[in-house]
């Protein structure tokens, strides 16, 4: 007797497509960023409970909003670099170097606007050099950019002999107010930085360049086989990092109208932590600009929050580390990994 070739149970439920709503898509696309935002809310709630007097009043927010733009200018381009599958540890020196050019040009009597253009060009050129070195010589970006960071910083120190440059003349000028004043009660840098974040977000998510950054970081061989110039995309992310570092350098110099030879040094680890706290994974191919920006917000608030909560500065490091680990664990659980 032969068995009949009929499906066993034709009535069983077939897998169907879930409702394809806009909200669903938004949640899926912004999973990491929303997770980071949740971390931020929880952290702020804890701070507010621990120290209501400080956190229910404006000054603490204002003080964070002055330095946050500098961090944002660094974190956002770093998301590009990490997504393309590289890392850049040379941006603190690039930041210091570009700001140095800015200070020198202003000191020499050039228009501050021209000086800013000079700084941006310097940052992009340094970014190009770092990127070209890493990419064309196929060096490990972790080690090569660390070397570049030391080398550039050393160069600055040798030439300036560790002396700072005061630009107090810039205070109360048009340029000074444009980049370092108050606007609608907020530090004006914040608006510039938000504009930069929005621009970078557009570039990352809605632009051909961003699409290729994702493809190269995800699977470089596939991207190359599809005709994408992989090396050019990689170098371009380093150039963008240089641009962000230069902007950060100008903003940080304009806060106190003084350039220090150490400008940028303190940002290395906080900026890198912000990228990963924000939900960009380490393995490349995916990343989140919004998450990175919120990550920068979290990292900026940890320091002031802990001190304001009445704990000594000794606790800052401990909680910095704790938040980073918890955020990473949270993202690990929140994220599906396909490679």
């Amino acid at each position: 007797m032969s068995a009949s070739l009929e499906p066993v149970d034709a009535r069983s439920q077939k897998v169907t497509r879930p409702p394809d709503g806009g909200l669903r898509r938004f949640l899926d696309a912004n999973r990491a960023a929303l997770g980071t935002f949740a971390v931020f809310i929880v952290m702020m709630a804890i701070f507010a409970i621990a120290s209501p007097i400080v956190f229910l009043h404006w000054p603490i927010y204002n003080s964070v909003l002055v330095t946050l733009p500098v961090a944002l200018c660094l974190v956002v381009p770093l998301v590009f670099v990490v997504t393309v599958g590289e890392i850049d540890l040379s941006f603190p020196a690039t930041m210091g170097f570009s700001a140095w050019i800015f200070a020198l040009l202003v000191q020499a009597g050039f228009s501050p606007f021209l000086a800013i253009l000079g700084a941006l060009a310097t940052g992009m050129l340094l970014g190009y050099c770092v990127g070209a070195l890493v990419v064309t010589a196929s060096l490990s970006s972790l080690i090569a950019t660390l070397g570049m960071n030391y080398m550039l910083r050393g160069f600055i120190m040798i030439v300036t002999q560790g002396k700072s440059i005061a630009l107090l003349d810039l205070q109360d000028t048009f340029a000074g107010n444009l980049f370092s004043g108050d606007f609608l009660g907020f530090p004006v840098q914040m608006f510039w930085a938000l504009g930069f974040v929005a621009f970078a977000g557009l570039l990352f998510n809605r632009h051909r360049f961003g699409a290729r950054v994702h493809a190269v970081g995800d699977h470089p061989d596939s991207a190359a086989q599809m005709g994408i110039n992989v090396n050019r995309i990689r170098i371009a992310t380093f150039v963008f990092m240089g641009l962000g570092a230069a902007l950060a350098g100008v903003f940080s110099t304009m806060i106190n109208f003084t350039w220090w030879p150490t400008t940028g040094d303190g940002y290395l680890l906080p900026a890198i932590a912000s990228v990963f706290v924000g939900g960009t994974p380490t393995w490349g191919g995916i990343g989140t600009i919004t998450g990175g920006a919120i990550g920068a917000l979290i990292v900026s608030f940890i320091q002031s929050g802990i001190v304001a909560a009445g704990l000594s500065g000794f606790y800052v490091q401990f909680f910095n580390g704790l938040i980073i680990i918890l955020a990473l664990l949270g993202h690990r659980w929140n994220q599906k990994r396909y490679r």
């Binding site: 897998v15 994702h214 699977h219 396909y338």
Partner: protein, 258 residues
């Protein structure tokens, strides 16, 4: 016979002193399905990587529609109307179906901003055309969630989107189920019916014999046979020829040698 679409003249590729491909002459005409067969290491994959511009030949000429190409690379190959479905499918698994279909070929408008609505619409249409049967996947689904056959579908969708004149398929039926293989065959026939050409690489001689109308057999970096279906006859004869290539003294000689 149709127009000569692409021609390789004396193409050789060596790694140091080892030749992967040693002086191959090879062509594909418009509207034909060519089957490329040969043992592992015969140089098939090297040849199609040269066609795709993924690797540069050590010597030889590549002609597209009768014209010699000077700067042959992956981008130029796609511009010339050659789409390759690689054996590993060349997909970025963390990206969406849309992003994979338009990888390197983004639909962008003003200032390079992506036209996402059009991309999604086109992707949906291509997925239907390829015969994506599962309803749970949208153009926004991540490729890493798909099965092998569905991933193959994404790679095929990418190949037809560009309206390429020649679609090169490197072992497209390996590791596919029966119905998925049938889908690939249907795909090849559709492409062929549209007056376009297919270069079909495969290990399953029956598959290749079924689908192709001309055969190129490679052996140790050279072309051992070029013949039409009529000249070859049955799949069994083709298999017999391949066996003779591998064991010139016959299979029996192996046993007697022991």
């Amino acid at each position: 016979m149709g127009e000569r679409l692409i021609e390789l003249r004396n193409i050789a590729k060596s790694y140091g002193r080892v030749f992967a491909v040693g002086g191959v002459n090879f062509h594909v005409d418009r509207g034909e399905v060519v089957g490329l067969i040969g043992d592992n290491g015969a140089g098939k994959s090297t040849l199609i990587k040269i066609l795709a511009g993924a690797i540069r030949p050590t010597s030889g000429e590549i002609l597209v529609r009768g014209k010699v190409e000077a700067n042959w690379n992956a981008a130029r190959s796609r511009d010339a109307g050659i789409e390759t479905v690689f054996q590993d499918r060349a997909l970025a698994v963390q990206q969406t179906i849309v992003r994979n279909i338009f990888m390197g070929r983004e639909i962008a408008g003003w200032l390079g901003l992506l036209d996402q609505a059009r991309e999604r619409h086109e992707a949906e249409r291509l997925m239907r055309e390829i015969g994506f049967t599962s309803e749970i996947f949208t153009p926004d689904s991540i490729v890493g969630q798909l099965s092998g056959g569905e991933r193959q579908g994404v790679a095929l969708a990418r190949a037809i989107y560009n309206k390429a004149d020649l679609i090169v398929m490197d072992e497209p039926t390996t590791a596919l189920s029966l119905t998925e293989t049938e889908k690939v065959f249907r795909f090849v026939r559709t492409v062929r019916a549209g007056g376009r050409s297919v270069l079909f690489i495969g290990h399953n001689i029956h598959h290749v014999h079924d689908i192709a109308e001309r055969f190129v057999v490679m052996d140790r970096g050279t072309v051992a046979l070029q013949a039409t279906k009529a000249e070859v006859g049955s799949a069994e004869r083709l298999i017999g020829f391949m066996e003779k290539l591998a064991h010139p003294k016959g299979i029996d000689s192996l046993e007697s040698a022991q």
